[in-house]
Amino acid sequence: MSLQDFWDVFVLGVVLGSLYAVIAIGYTLVYGVLQLLNFAHSEVFMSGGFGGLIVLTVVVPAADPSGIQSAGYVLLGMLAGAALGGGVAYGLERVAYRPLRRRGAPRLVFLITAIGASFFIYNLAGKIFGRNASRMPSMYENKTLFTLFGAPINVTQALVVVSAVLMLILVDFVVNRTKLGSGIRAVAQDPEVASLMGVNIDKVVSRTFVLGGLMGGVAGFLYGTTTQVWYTMGFLPGITAFAAAVLGGIGNVRGAMLGGMVLGVVEAMTVEIWGDAWRYVGAFAVLVAVLMFRPTGILGERVARTA
């Protein structure tokens, strides 16, 4: 692999990795507060794709949009993705998980509920939107914007990476600097003491889901823009992003970001060197290798209690 090849592939990896990072946030936040592996998060992601698709099918983008129009369509798609993603995540918490928490159900029940909710949501999406994939209406001309170390960057790639980085900064800010963030951290450390200190646990949990859902929804829209939108689109990115969260240290927001980026780049490199058939082998080999030497992930898990 020449240096030029390396940069070209690195760019593809970073694009993929930024999406994984944003999805991984959803897994890691929820795990942080509830020690719950929310496998239905992949469906939150899928909903975001459909959210953007629906709005852009209604608001048909002009054939030859100006720069401002394009930005408007993209923003609209993102908002729709975020809204549906956040909405589904909120509904999921209210309908599927809160009743279980109220009853103090064992953790395994949560896990099975998560899997069941995931099946329910994607099959529902299949029923409503059909089993065929759809293409996101084109919102801009996907031309090369600039080159970075000789690697051409097109509009979609720039859009994905820039929005992902902005979202990651935003989440980091929310978790570390806001009242909601201290609530999230407090519940993650010790829910009982947090509630004694006046933290409304239900509210914090609900908002954590919504925060993860907003991110997941936008990621779904962006992912749909890079490929297409279909009812099982959440499965593979969801599993990979979950692995990214574990790789970075589950419960650790910055770890999820790092894990996503690492898996994305490793995946792209694997495809370049060994071909597409090995796509997930490289990424998961790295995951296993890291967990053998650092069982808590690269940055270490941040949950105070050992569940």
Binding site: L108, I115, G130, S138, Y223, T227, G275, A277, A307
Partner: protein, 393 residues
């Protein structure tokens, strides 16, 4: 740290759950049959993808079969009634056994049309064979299917040898094509088609490079890069429209400007809607003729349009023919008609359909190998004609 006991439980639970989903949803809306006939009722089954990623291809065929059955029942020409039964294999191997078993267990089923895809056909054909149920596929094109001695399997379509050879013949006749990259989707269909195309291209003196992208790959940026880096003048994609869509879009983004050819798995309007402008100029082969462009099937195309409110798709007319072939064989057998006699009658007979003449060799292989070329032009898949004629060979 992840709770060990949870993880220990979670993995089998997740796997079990995945296996369960695979058994799900059968939207079998069998609204065939009805009216006319009387007397005995024979069921004709169709096994194909009626849900899942390739449902559009499955429905094309289902509609063709239903139209044939409805017309037969309404014609009053027959003293029996034909009933339509659908069984959904989602076009994947894992579902094929269950789908075929449903058909076999129903003793009124006298014949099956399908399995539609090569992978499921390989799994289900032995089951149909054991039960003595005639299985005629109007679209499973993997060459090895007829080499395995399945007792009741017939292929009513030219196989991939014909399609791969047609692609090679076409590419060799184009100016400036010296190197071709073949990308398959790691299914029996894709690999079979790619292998045959590779052999034919090499024989015609072209340089060939092979690459594989598994069918569930969501991201085609790496694959598109491989194609551009290979320096090939032409690409052959051996896969289905579902993945050809994003692949075509990625190829355009990566700056590929060579000739792109794909087979009947991509020859569907869904490919255009998934790839958008990136599908422009793609050549698509098919052992199927264009029912709307061909004079012989123009009348069929109109009836299809009025029944389903859409023009016939890939293999609609061929599936219609196969259903008619089975019904006319039942009529000829009269009271003698059962699973065994029907197989014998169809396998050794010859039937003049709308699209072509159907007859089979001793392995159940189709005895007619014309391949037709199409091209994406604007918002449509234009019918260019038989490859033989296009290349002047």
């Amino acid at each position: 740290m992840l709770n060990r006991s949870i993880v220990k439980l979670a993995i089998p639970v997740a796997i079990g759950a995945l296996a369960l989903t695979a058994c799900g949803s059968d939207d079998g809306d069998s609204n065939g049959g009805g009216g006319g006939g009387g007397g005995t009722t024979y069921k004709i089954a169709y096994q194909g993808p009626l849900s899942g990623d390739n449902v559009a291809l499955g429905e094309n065929m289902q509609n063709g079969i239903q139209l044939a059955i409805n017309e037969a029942n309404e014609s009053g020409d027959y003293d029996f009634t034909v009933e339509y039964v659908a069984t959904d294999d989602r076009g994947v191997e894992g579902q094929a056994t269950a789908a075929a078993q449903l058909v076999i267990d129903d003793e009124d089923v006298i014949a099956a049309i399908g399995p539609a895809f090569s992978g499921p056909a390989e799994v289900a054909a032995p089951l149909y064979g054991e039960a003595g149920v005639l299985a005629v596929s109007s679209s499973a094109t993997n060459p090895t299917l007829t080499e395995q001695g399945f007792p009741t399997f017939l292929r009513a379509v030219p196989n991939d040898f014909a399609q791969g050879a047609g692609m090679a013949q076409f590419l060799a006749a184009q100016d400036g094509v010296e190197k071709v990259i073949l990308v398959d989707n790691v299914t029996p269909y894709g690999e079979g088609l790619a292998e045959v195309a590779e052999a034919s291209l090499t024989e015609l003196g072209l340089e060939v490079e092979r690459s594989s992208v598994p069918v569930d790959t969501p991201d085609y940026s790496g694959a598109a890069r491989t194609v551009v880096q290979s320096g090939a003048d032409a690409l052959v994609y051996a896969g289905y429209y579902q993945t050809a869509g994003p692949f075509a879009a990625s190829l355009k983004d990566a700056g590929f400007d060579g000739i792109a050819v794909s087979g009947d798995g991509t020859n569907d309007m869904q490919f255009l809607s998934l790839a958008g402008a990136a599908s422009e100029g793609w050549y698509l082969t098919c052992p199927c003729t264009d029912a709307t462009a061909d004079e012989a099937t123009a009348d069929f195309a109109e009836r299809y349009q009025s029944a389903f409110n859409q023009p016939p798709g890939t293999y609609s007319a061929e599936s219609y023919d196969v259903a008619q072939m089975i019904i006319s064989a039942i009529a000829e057998l009269g009271a003698e008609a059962n699973r065994d006699s029907l197989y014998e009658a169809v396998a050794t007979g010859s039937y003049e359909g709308l699209t072509k003449t159907f007859s089979f060799d001793e392995n159940g292989e189709f005895t007619n190998d014309a391949i037709f070329m199409y091209q994406v032009q604007g918002d449509d898949i234009a019918y260019l004609g038989p490859i033989e004629e296009l290349t002047g060979g």
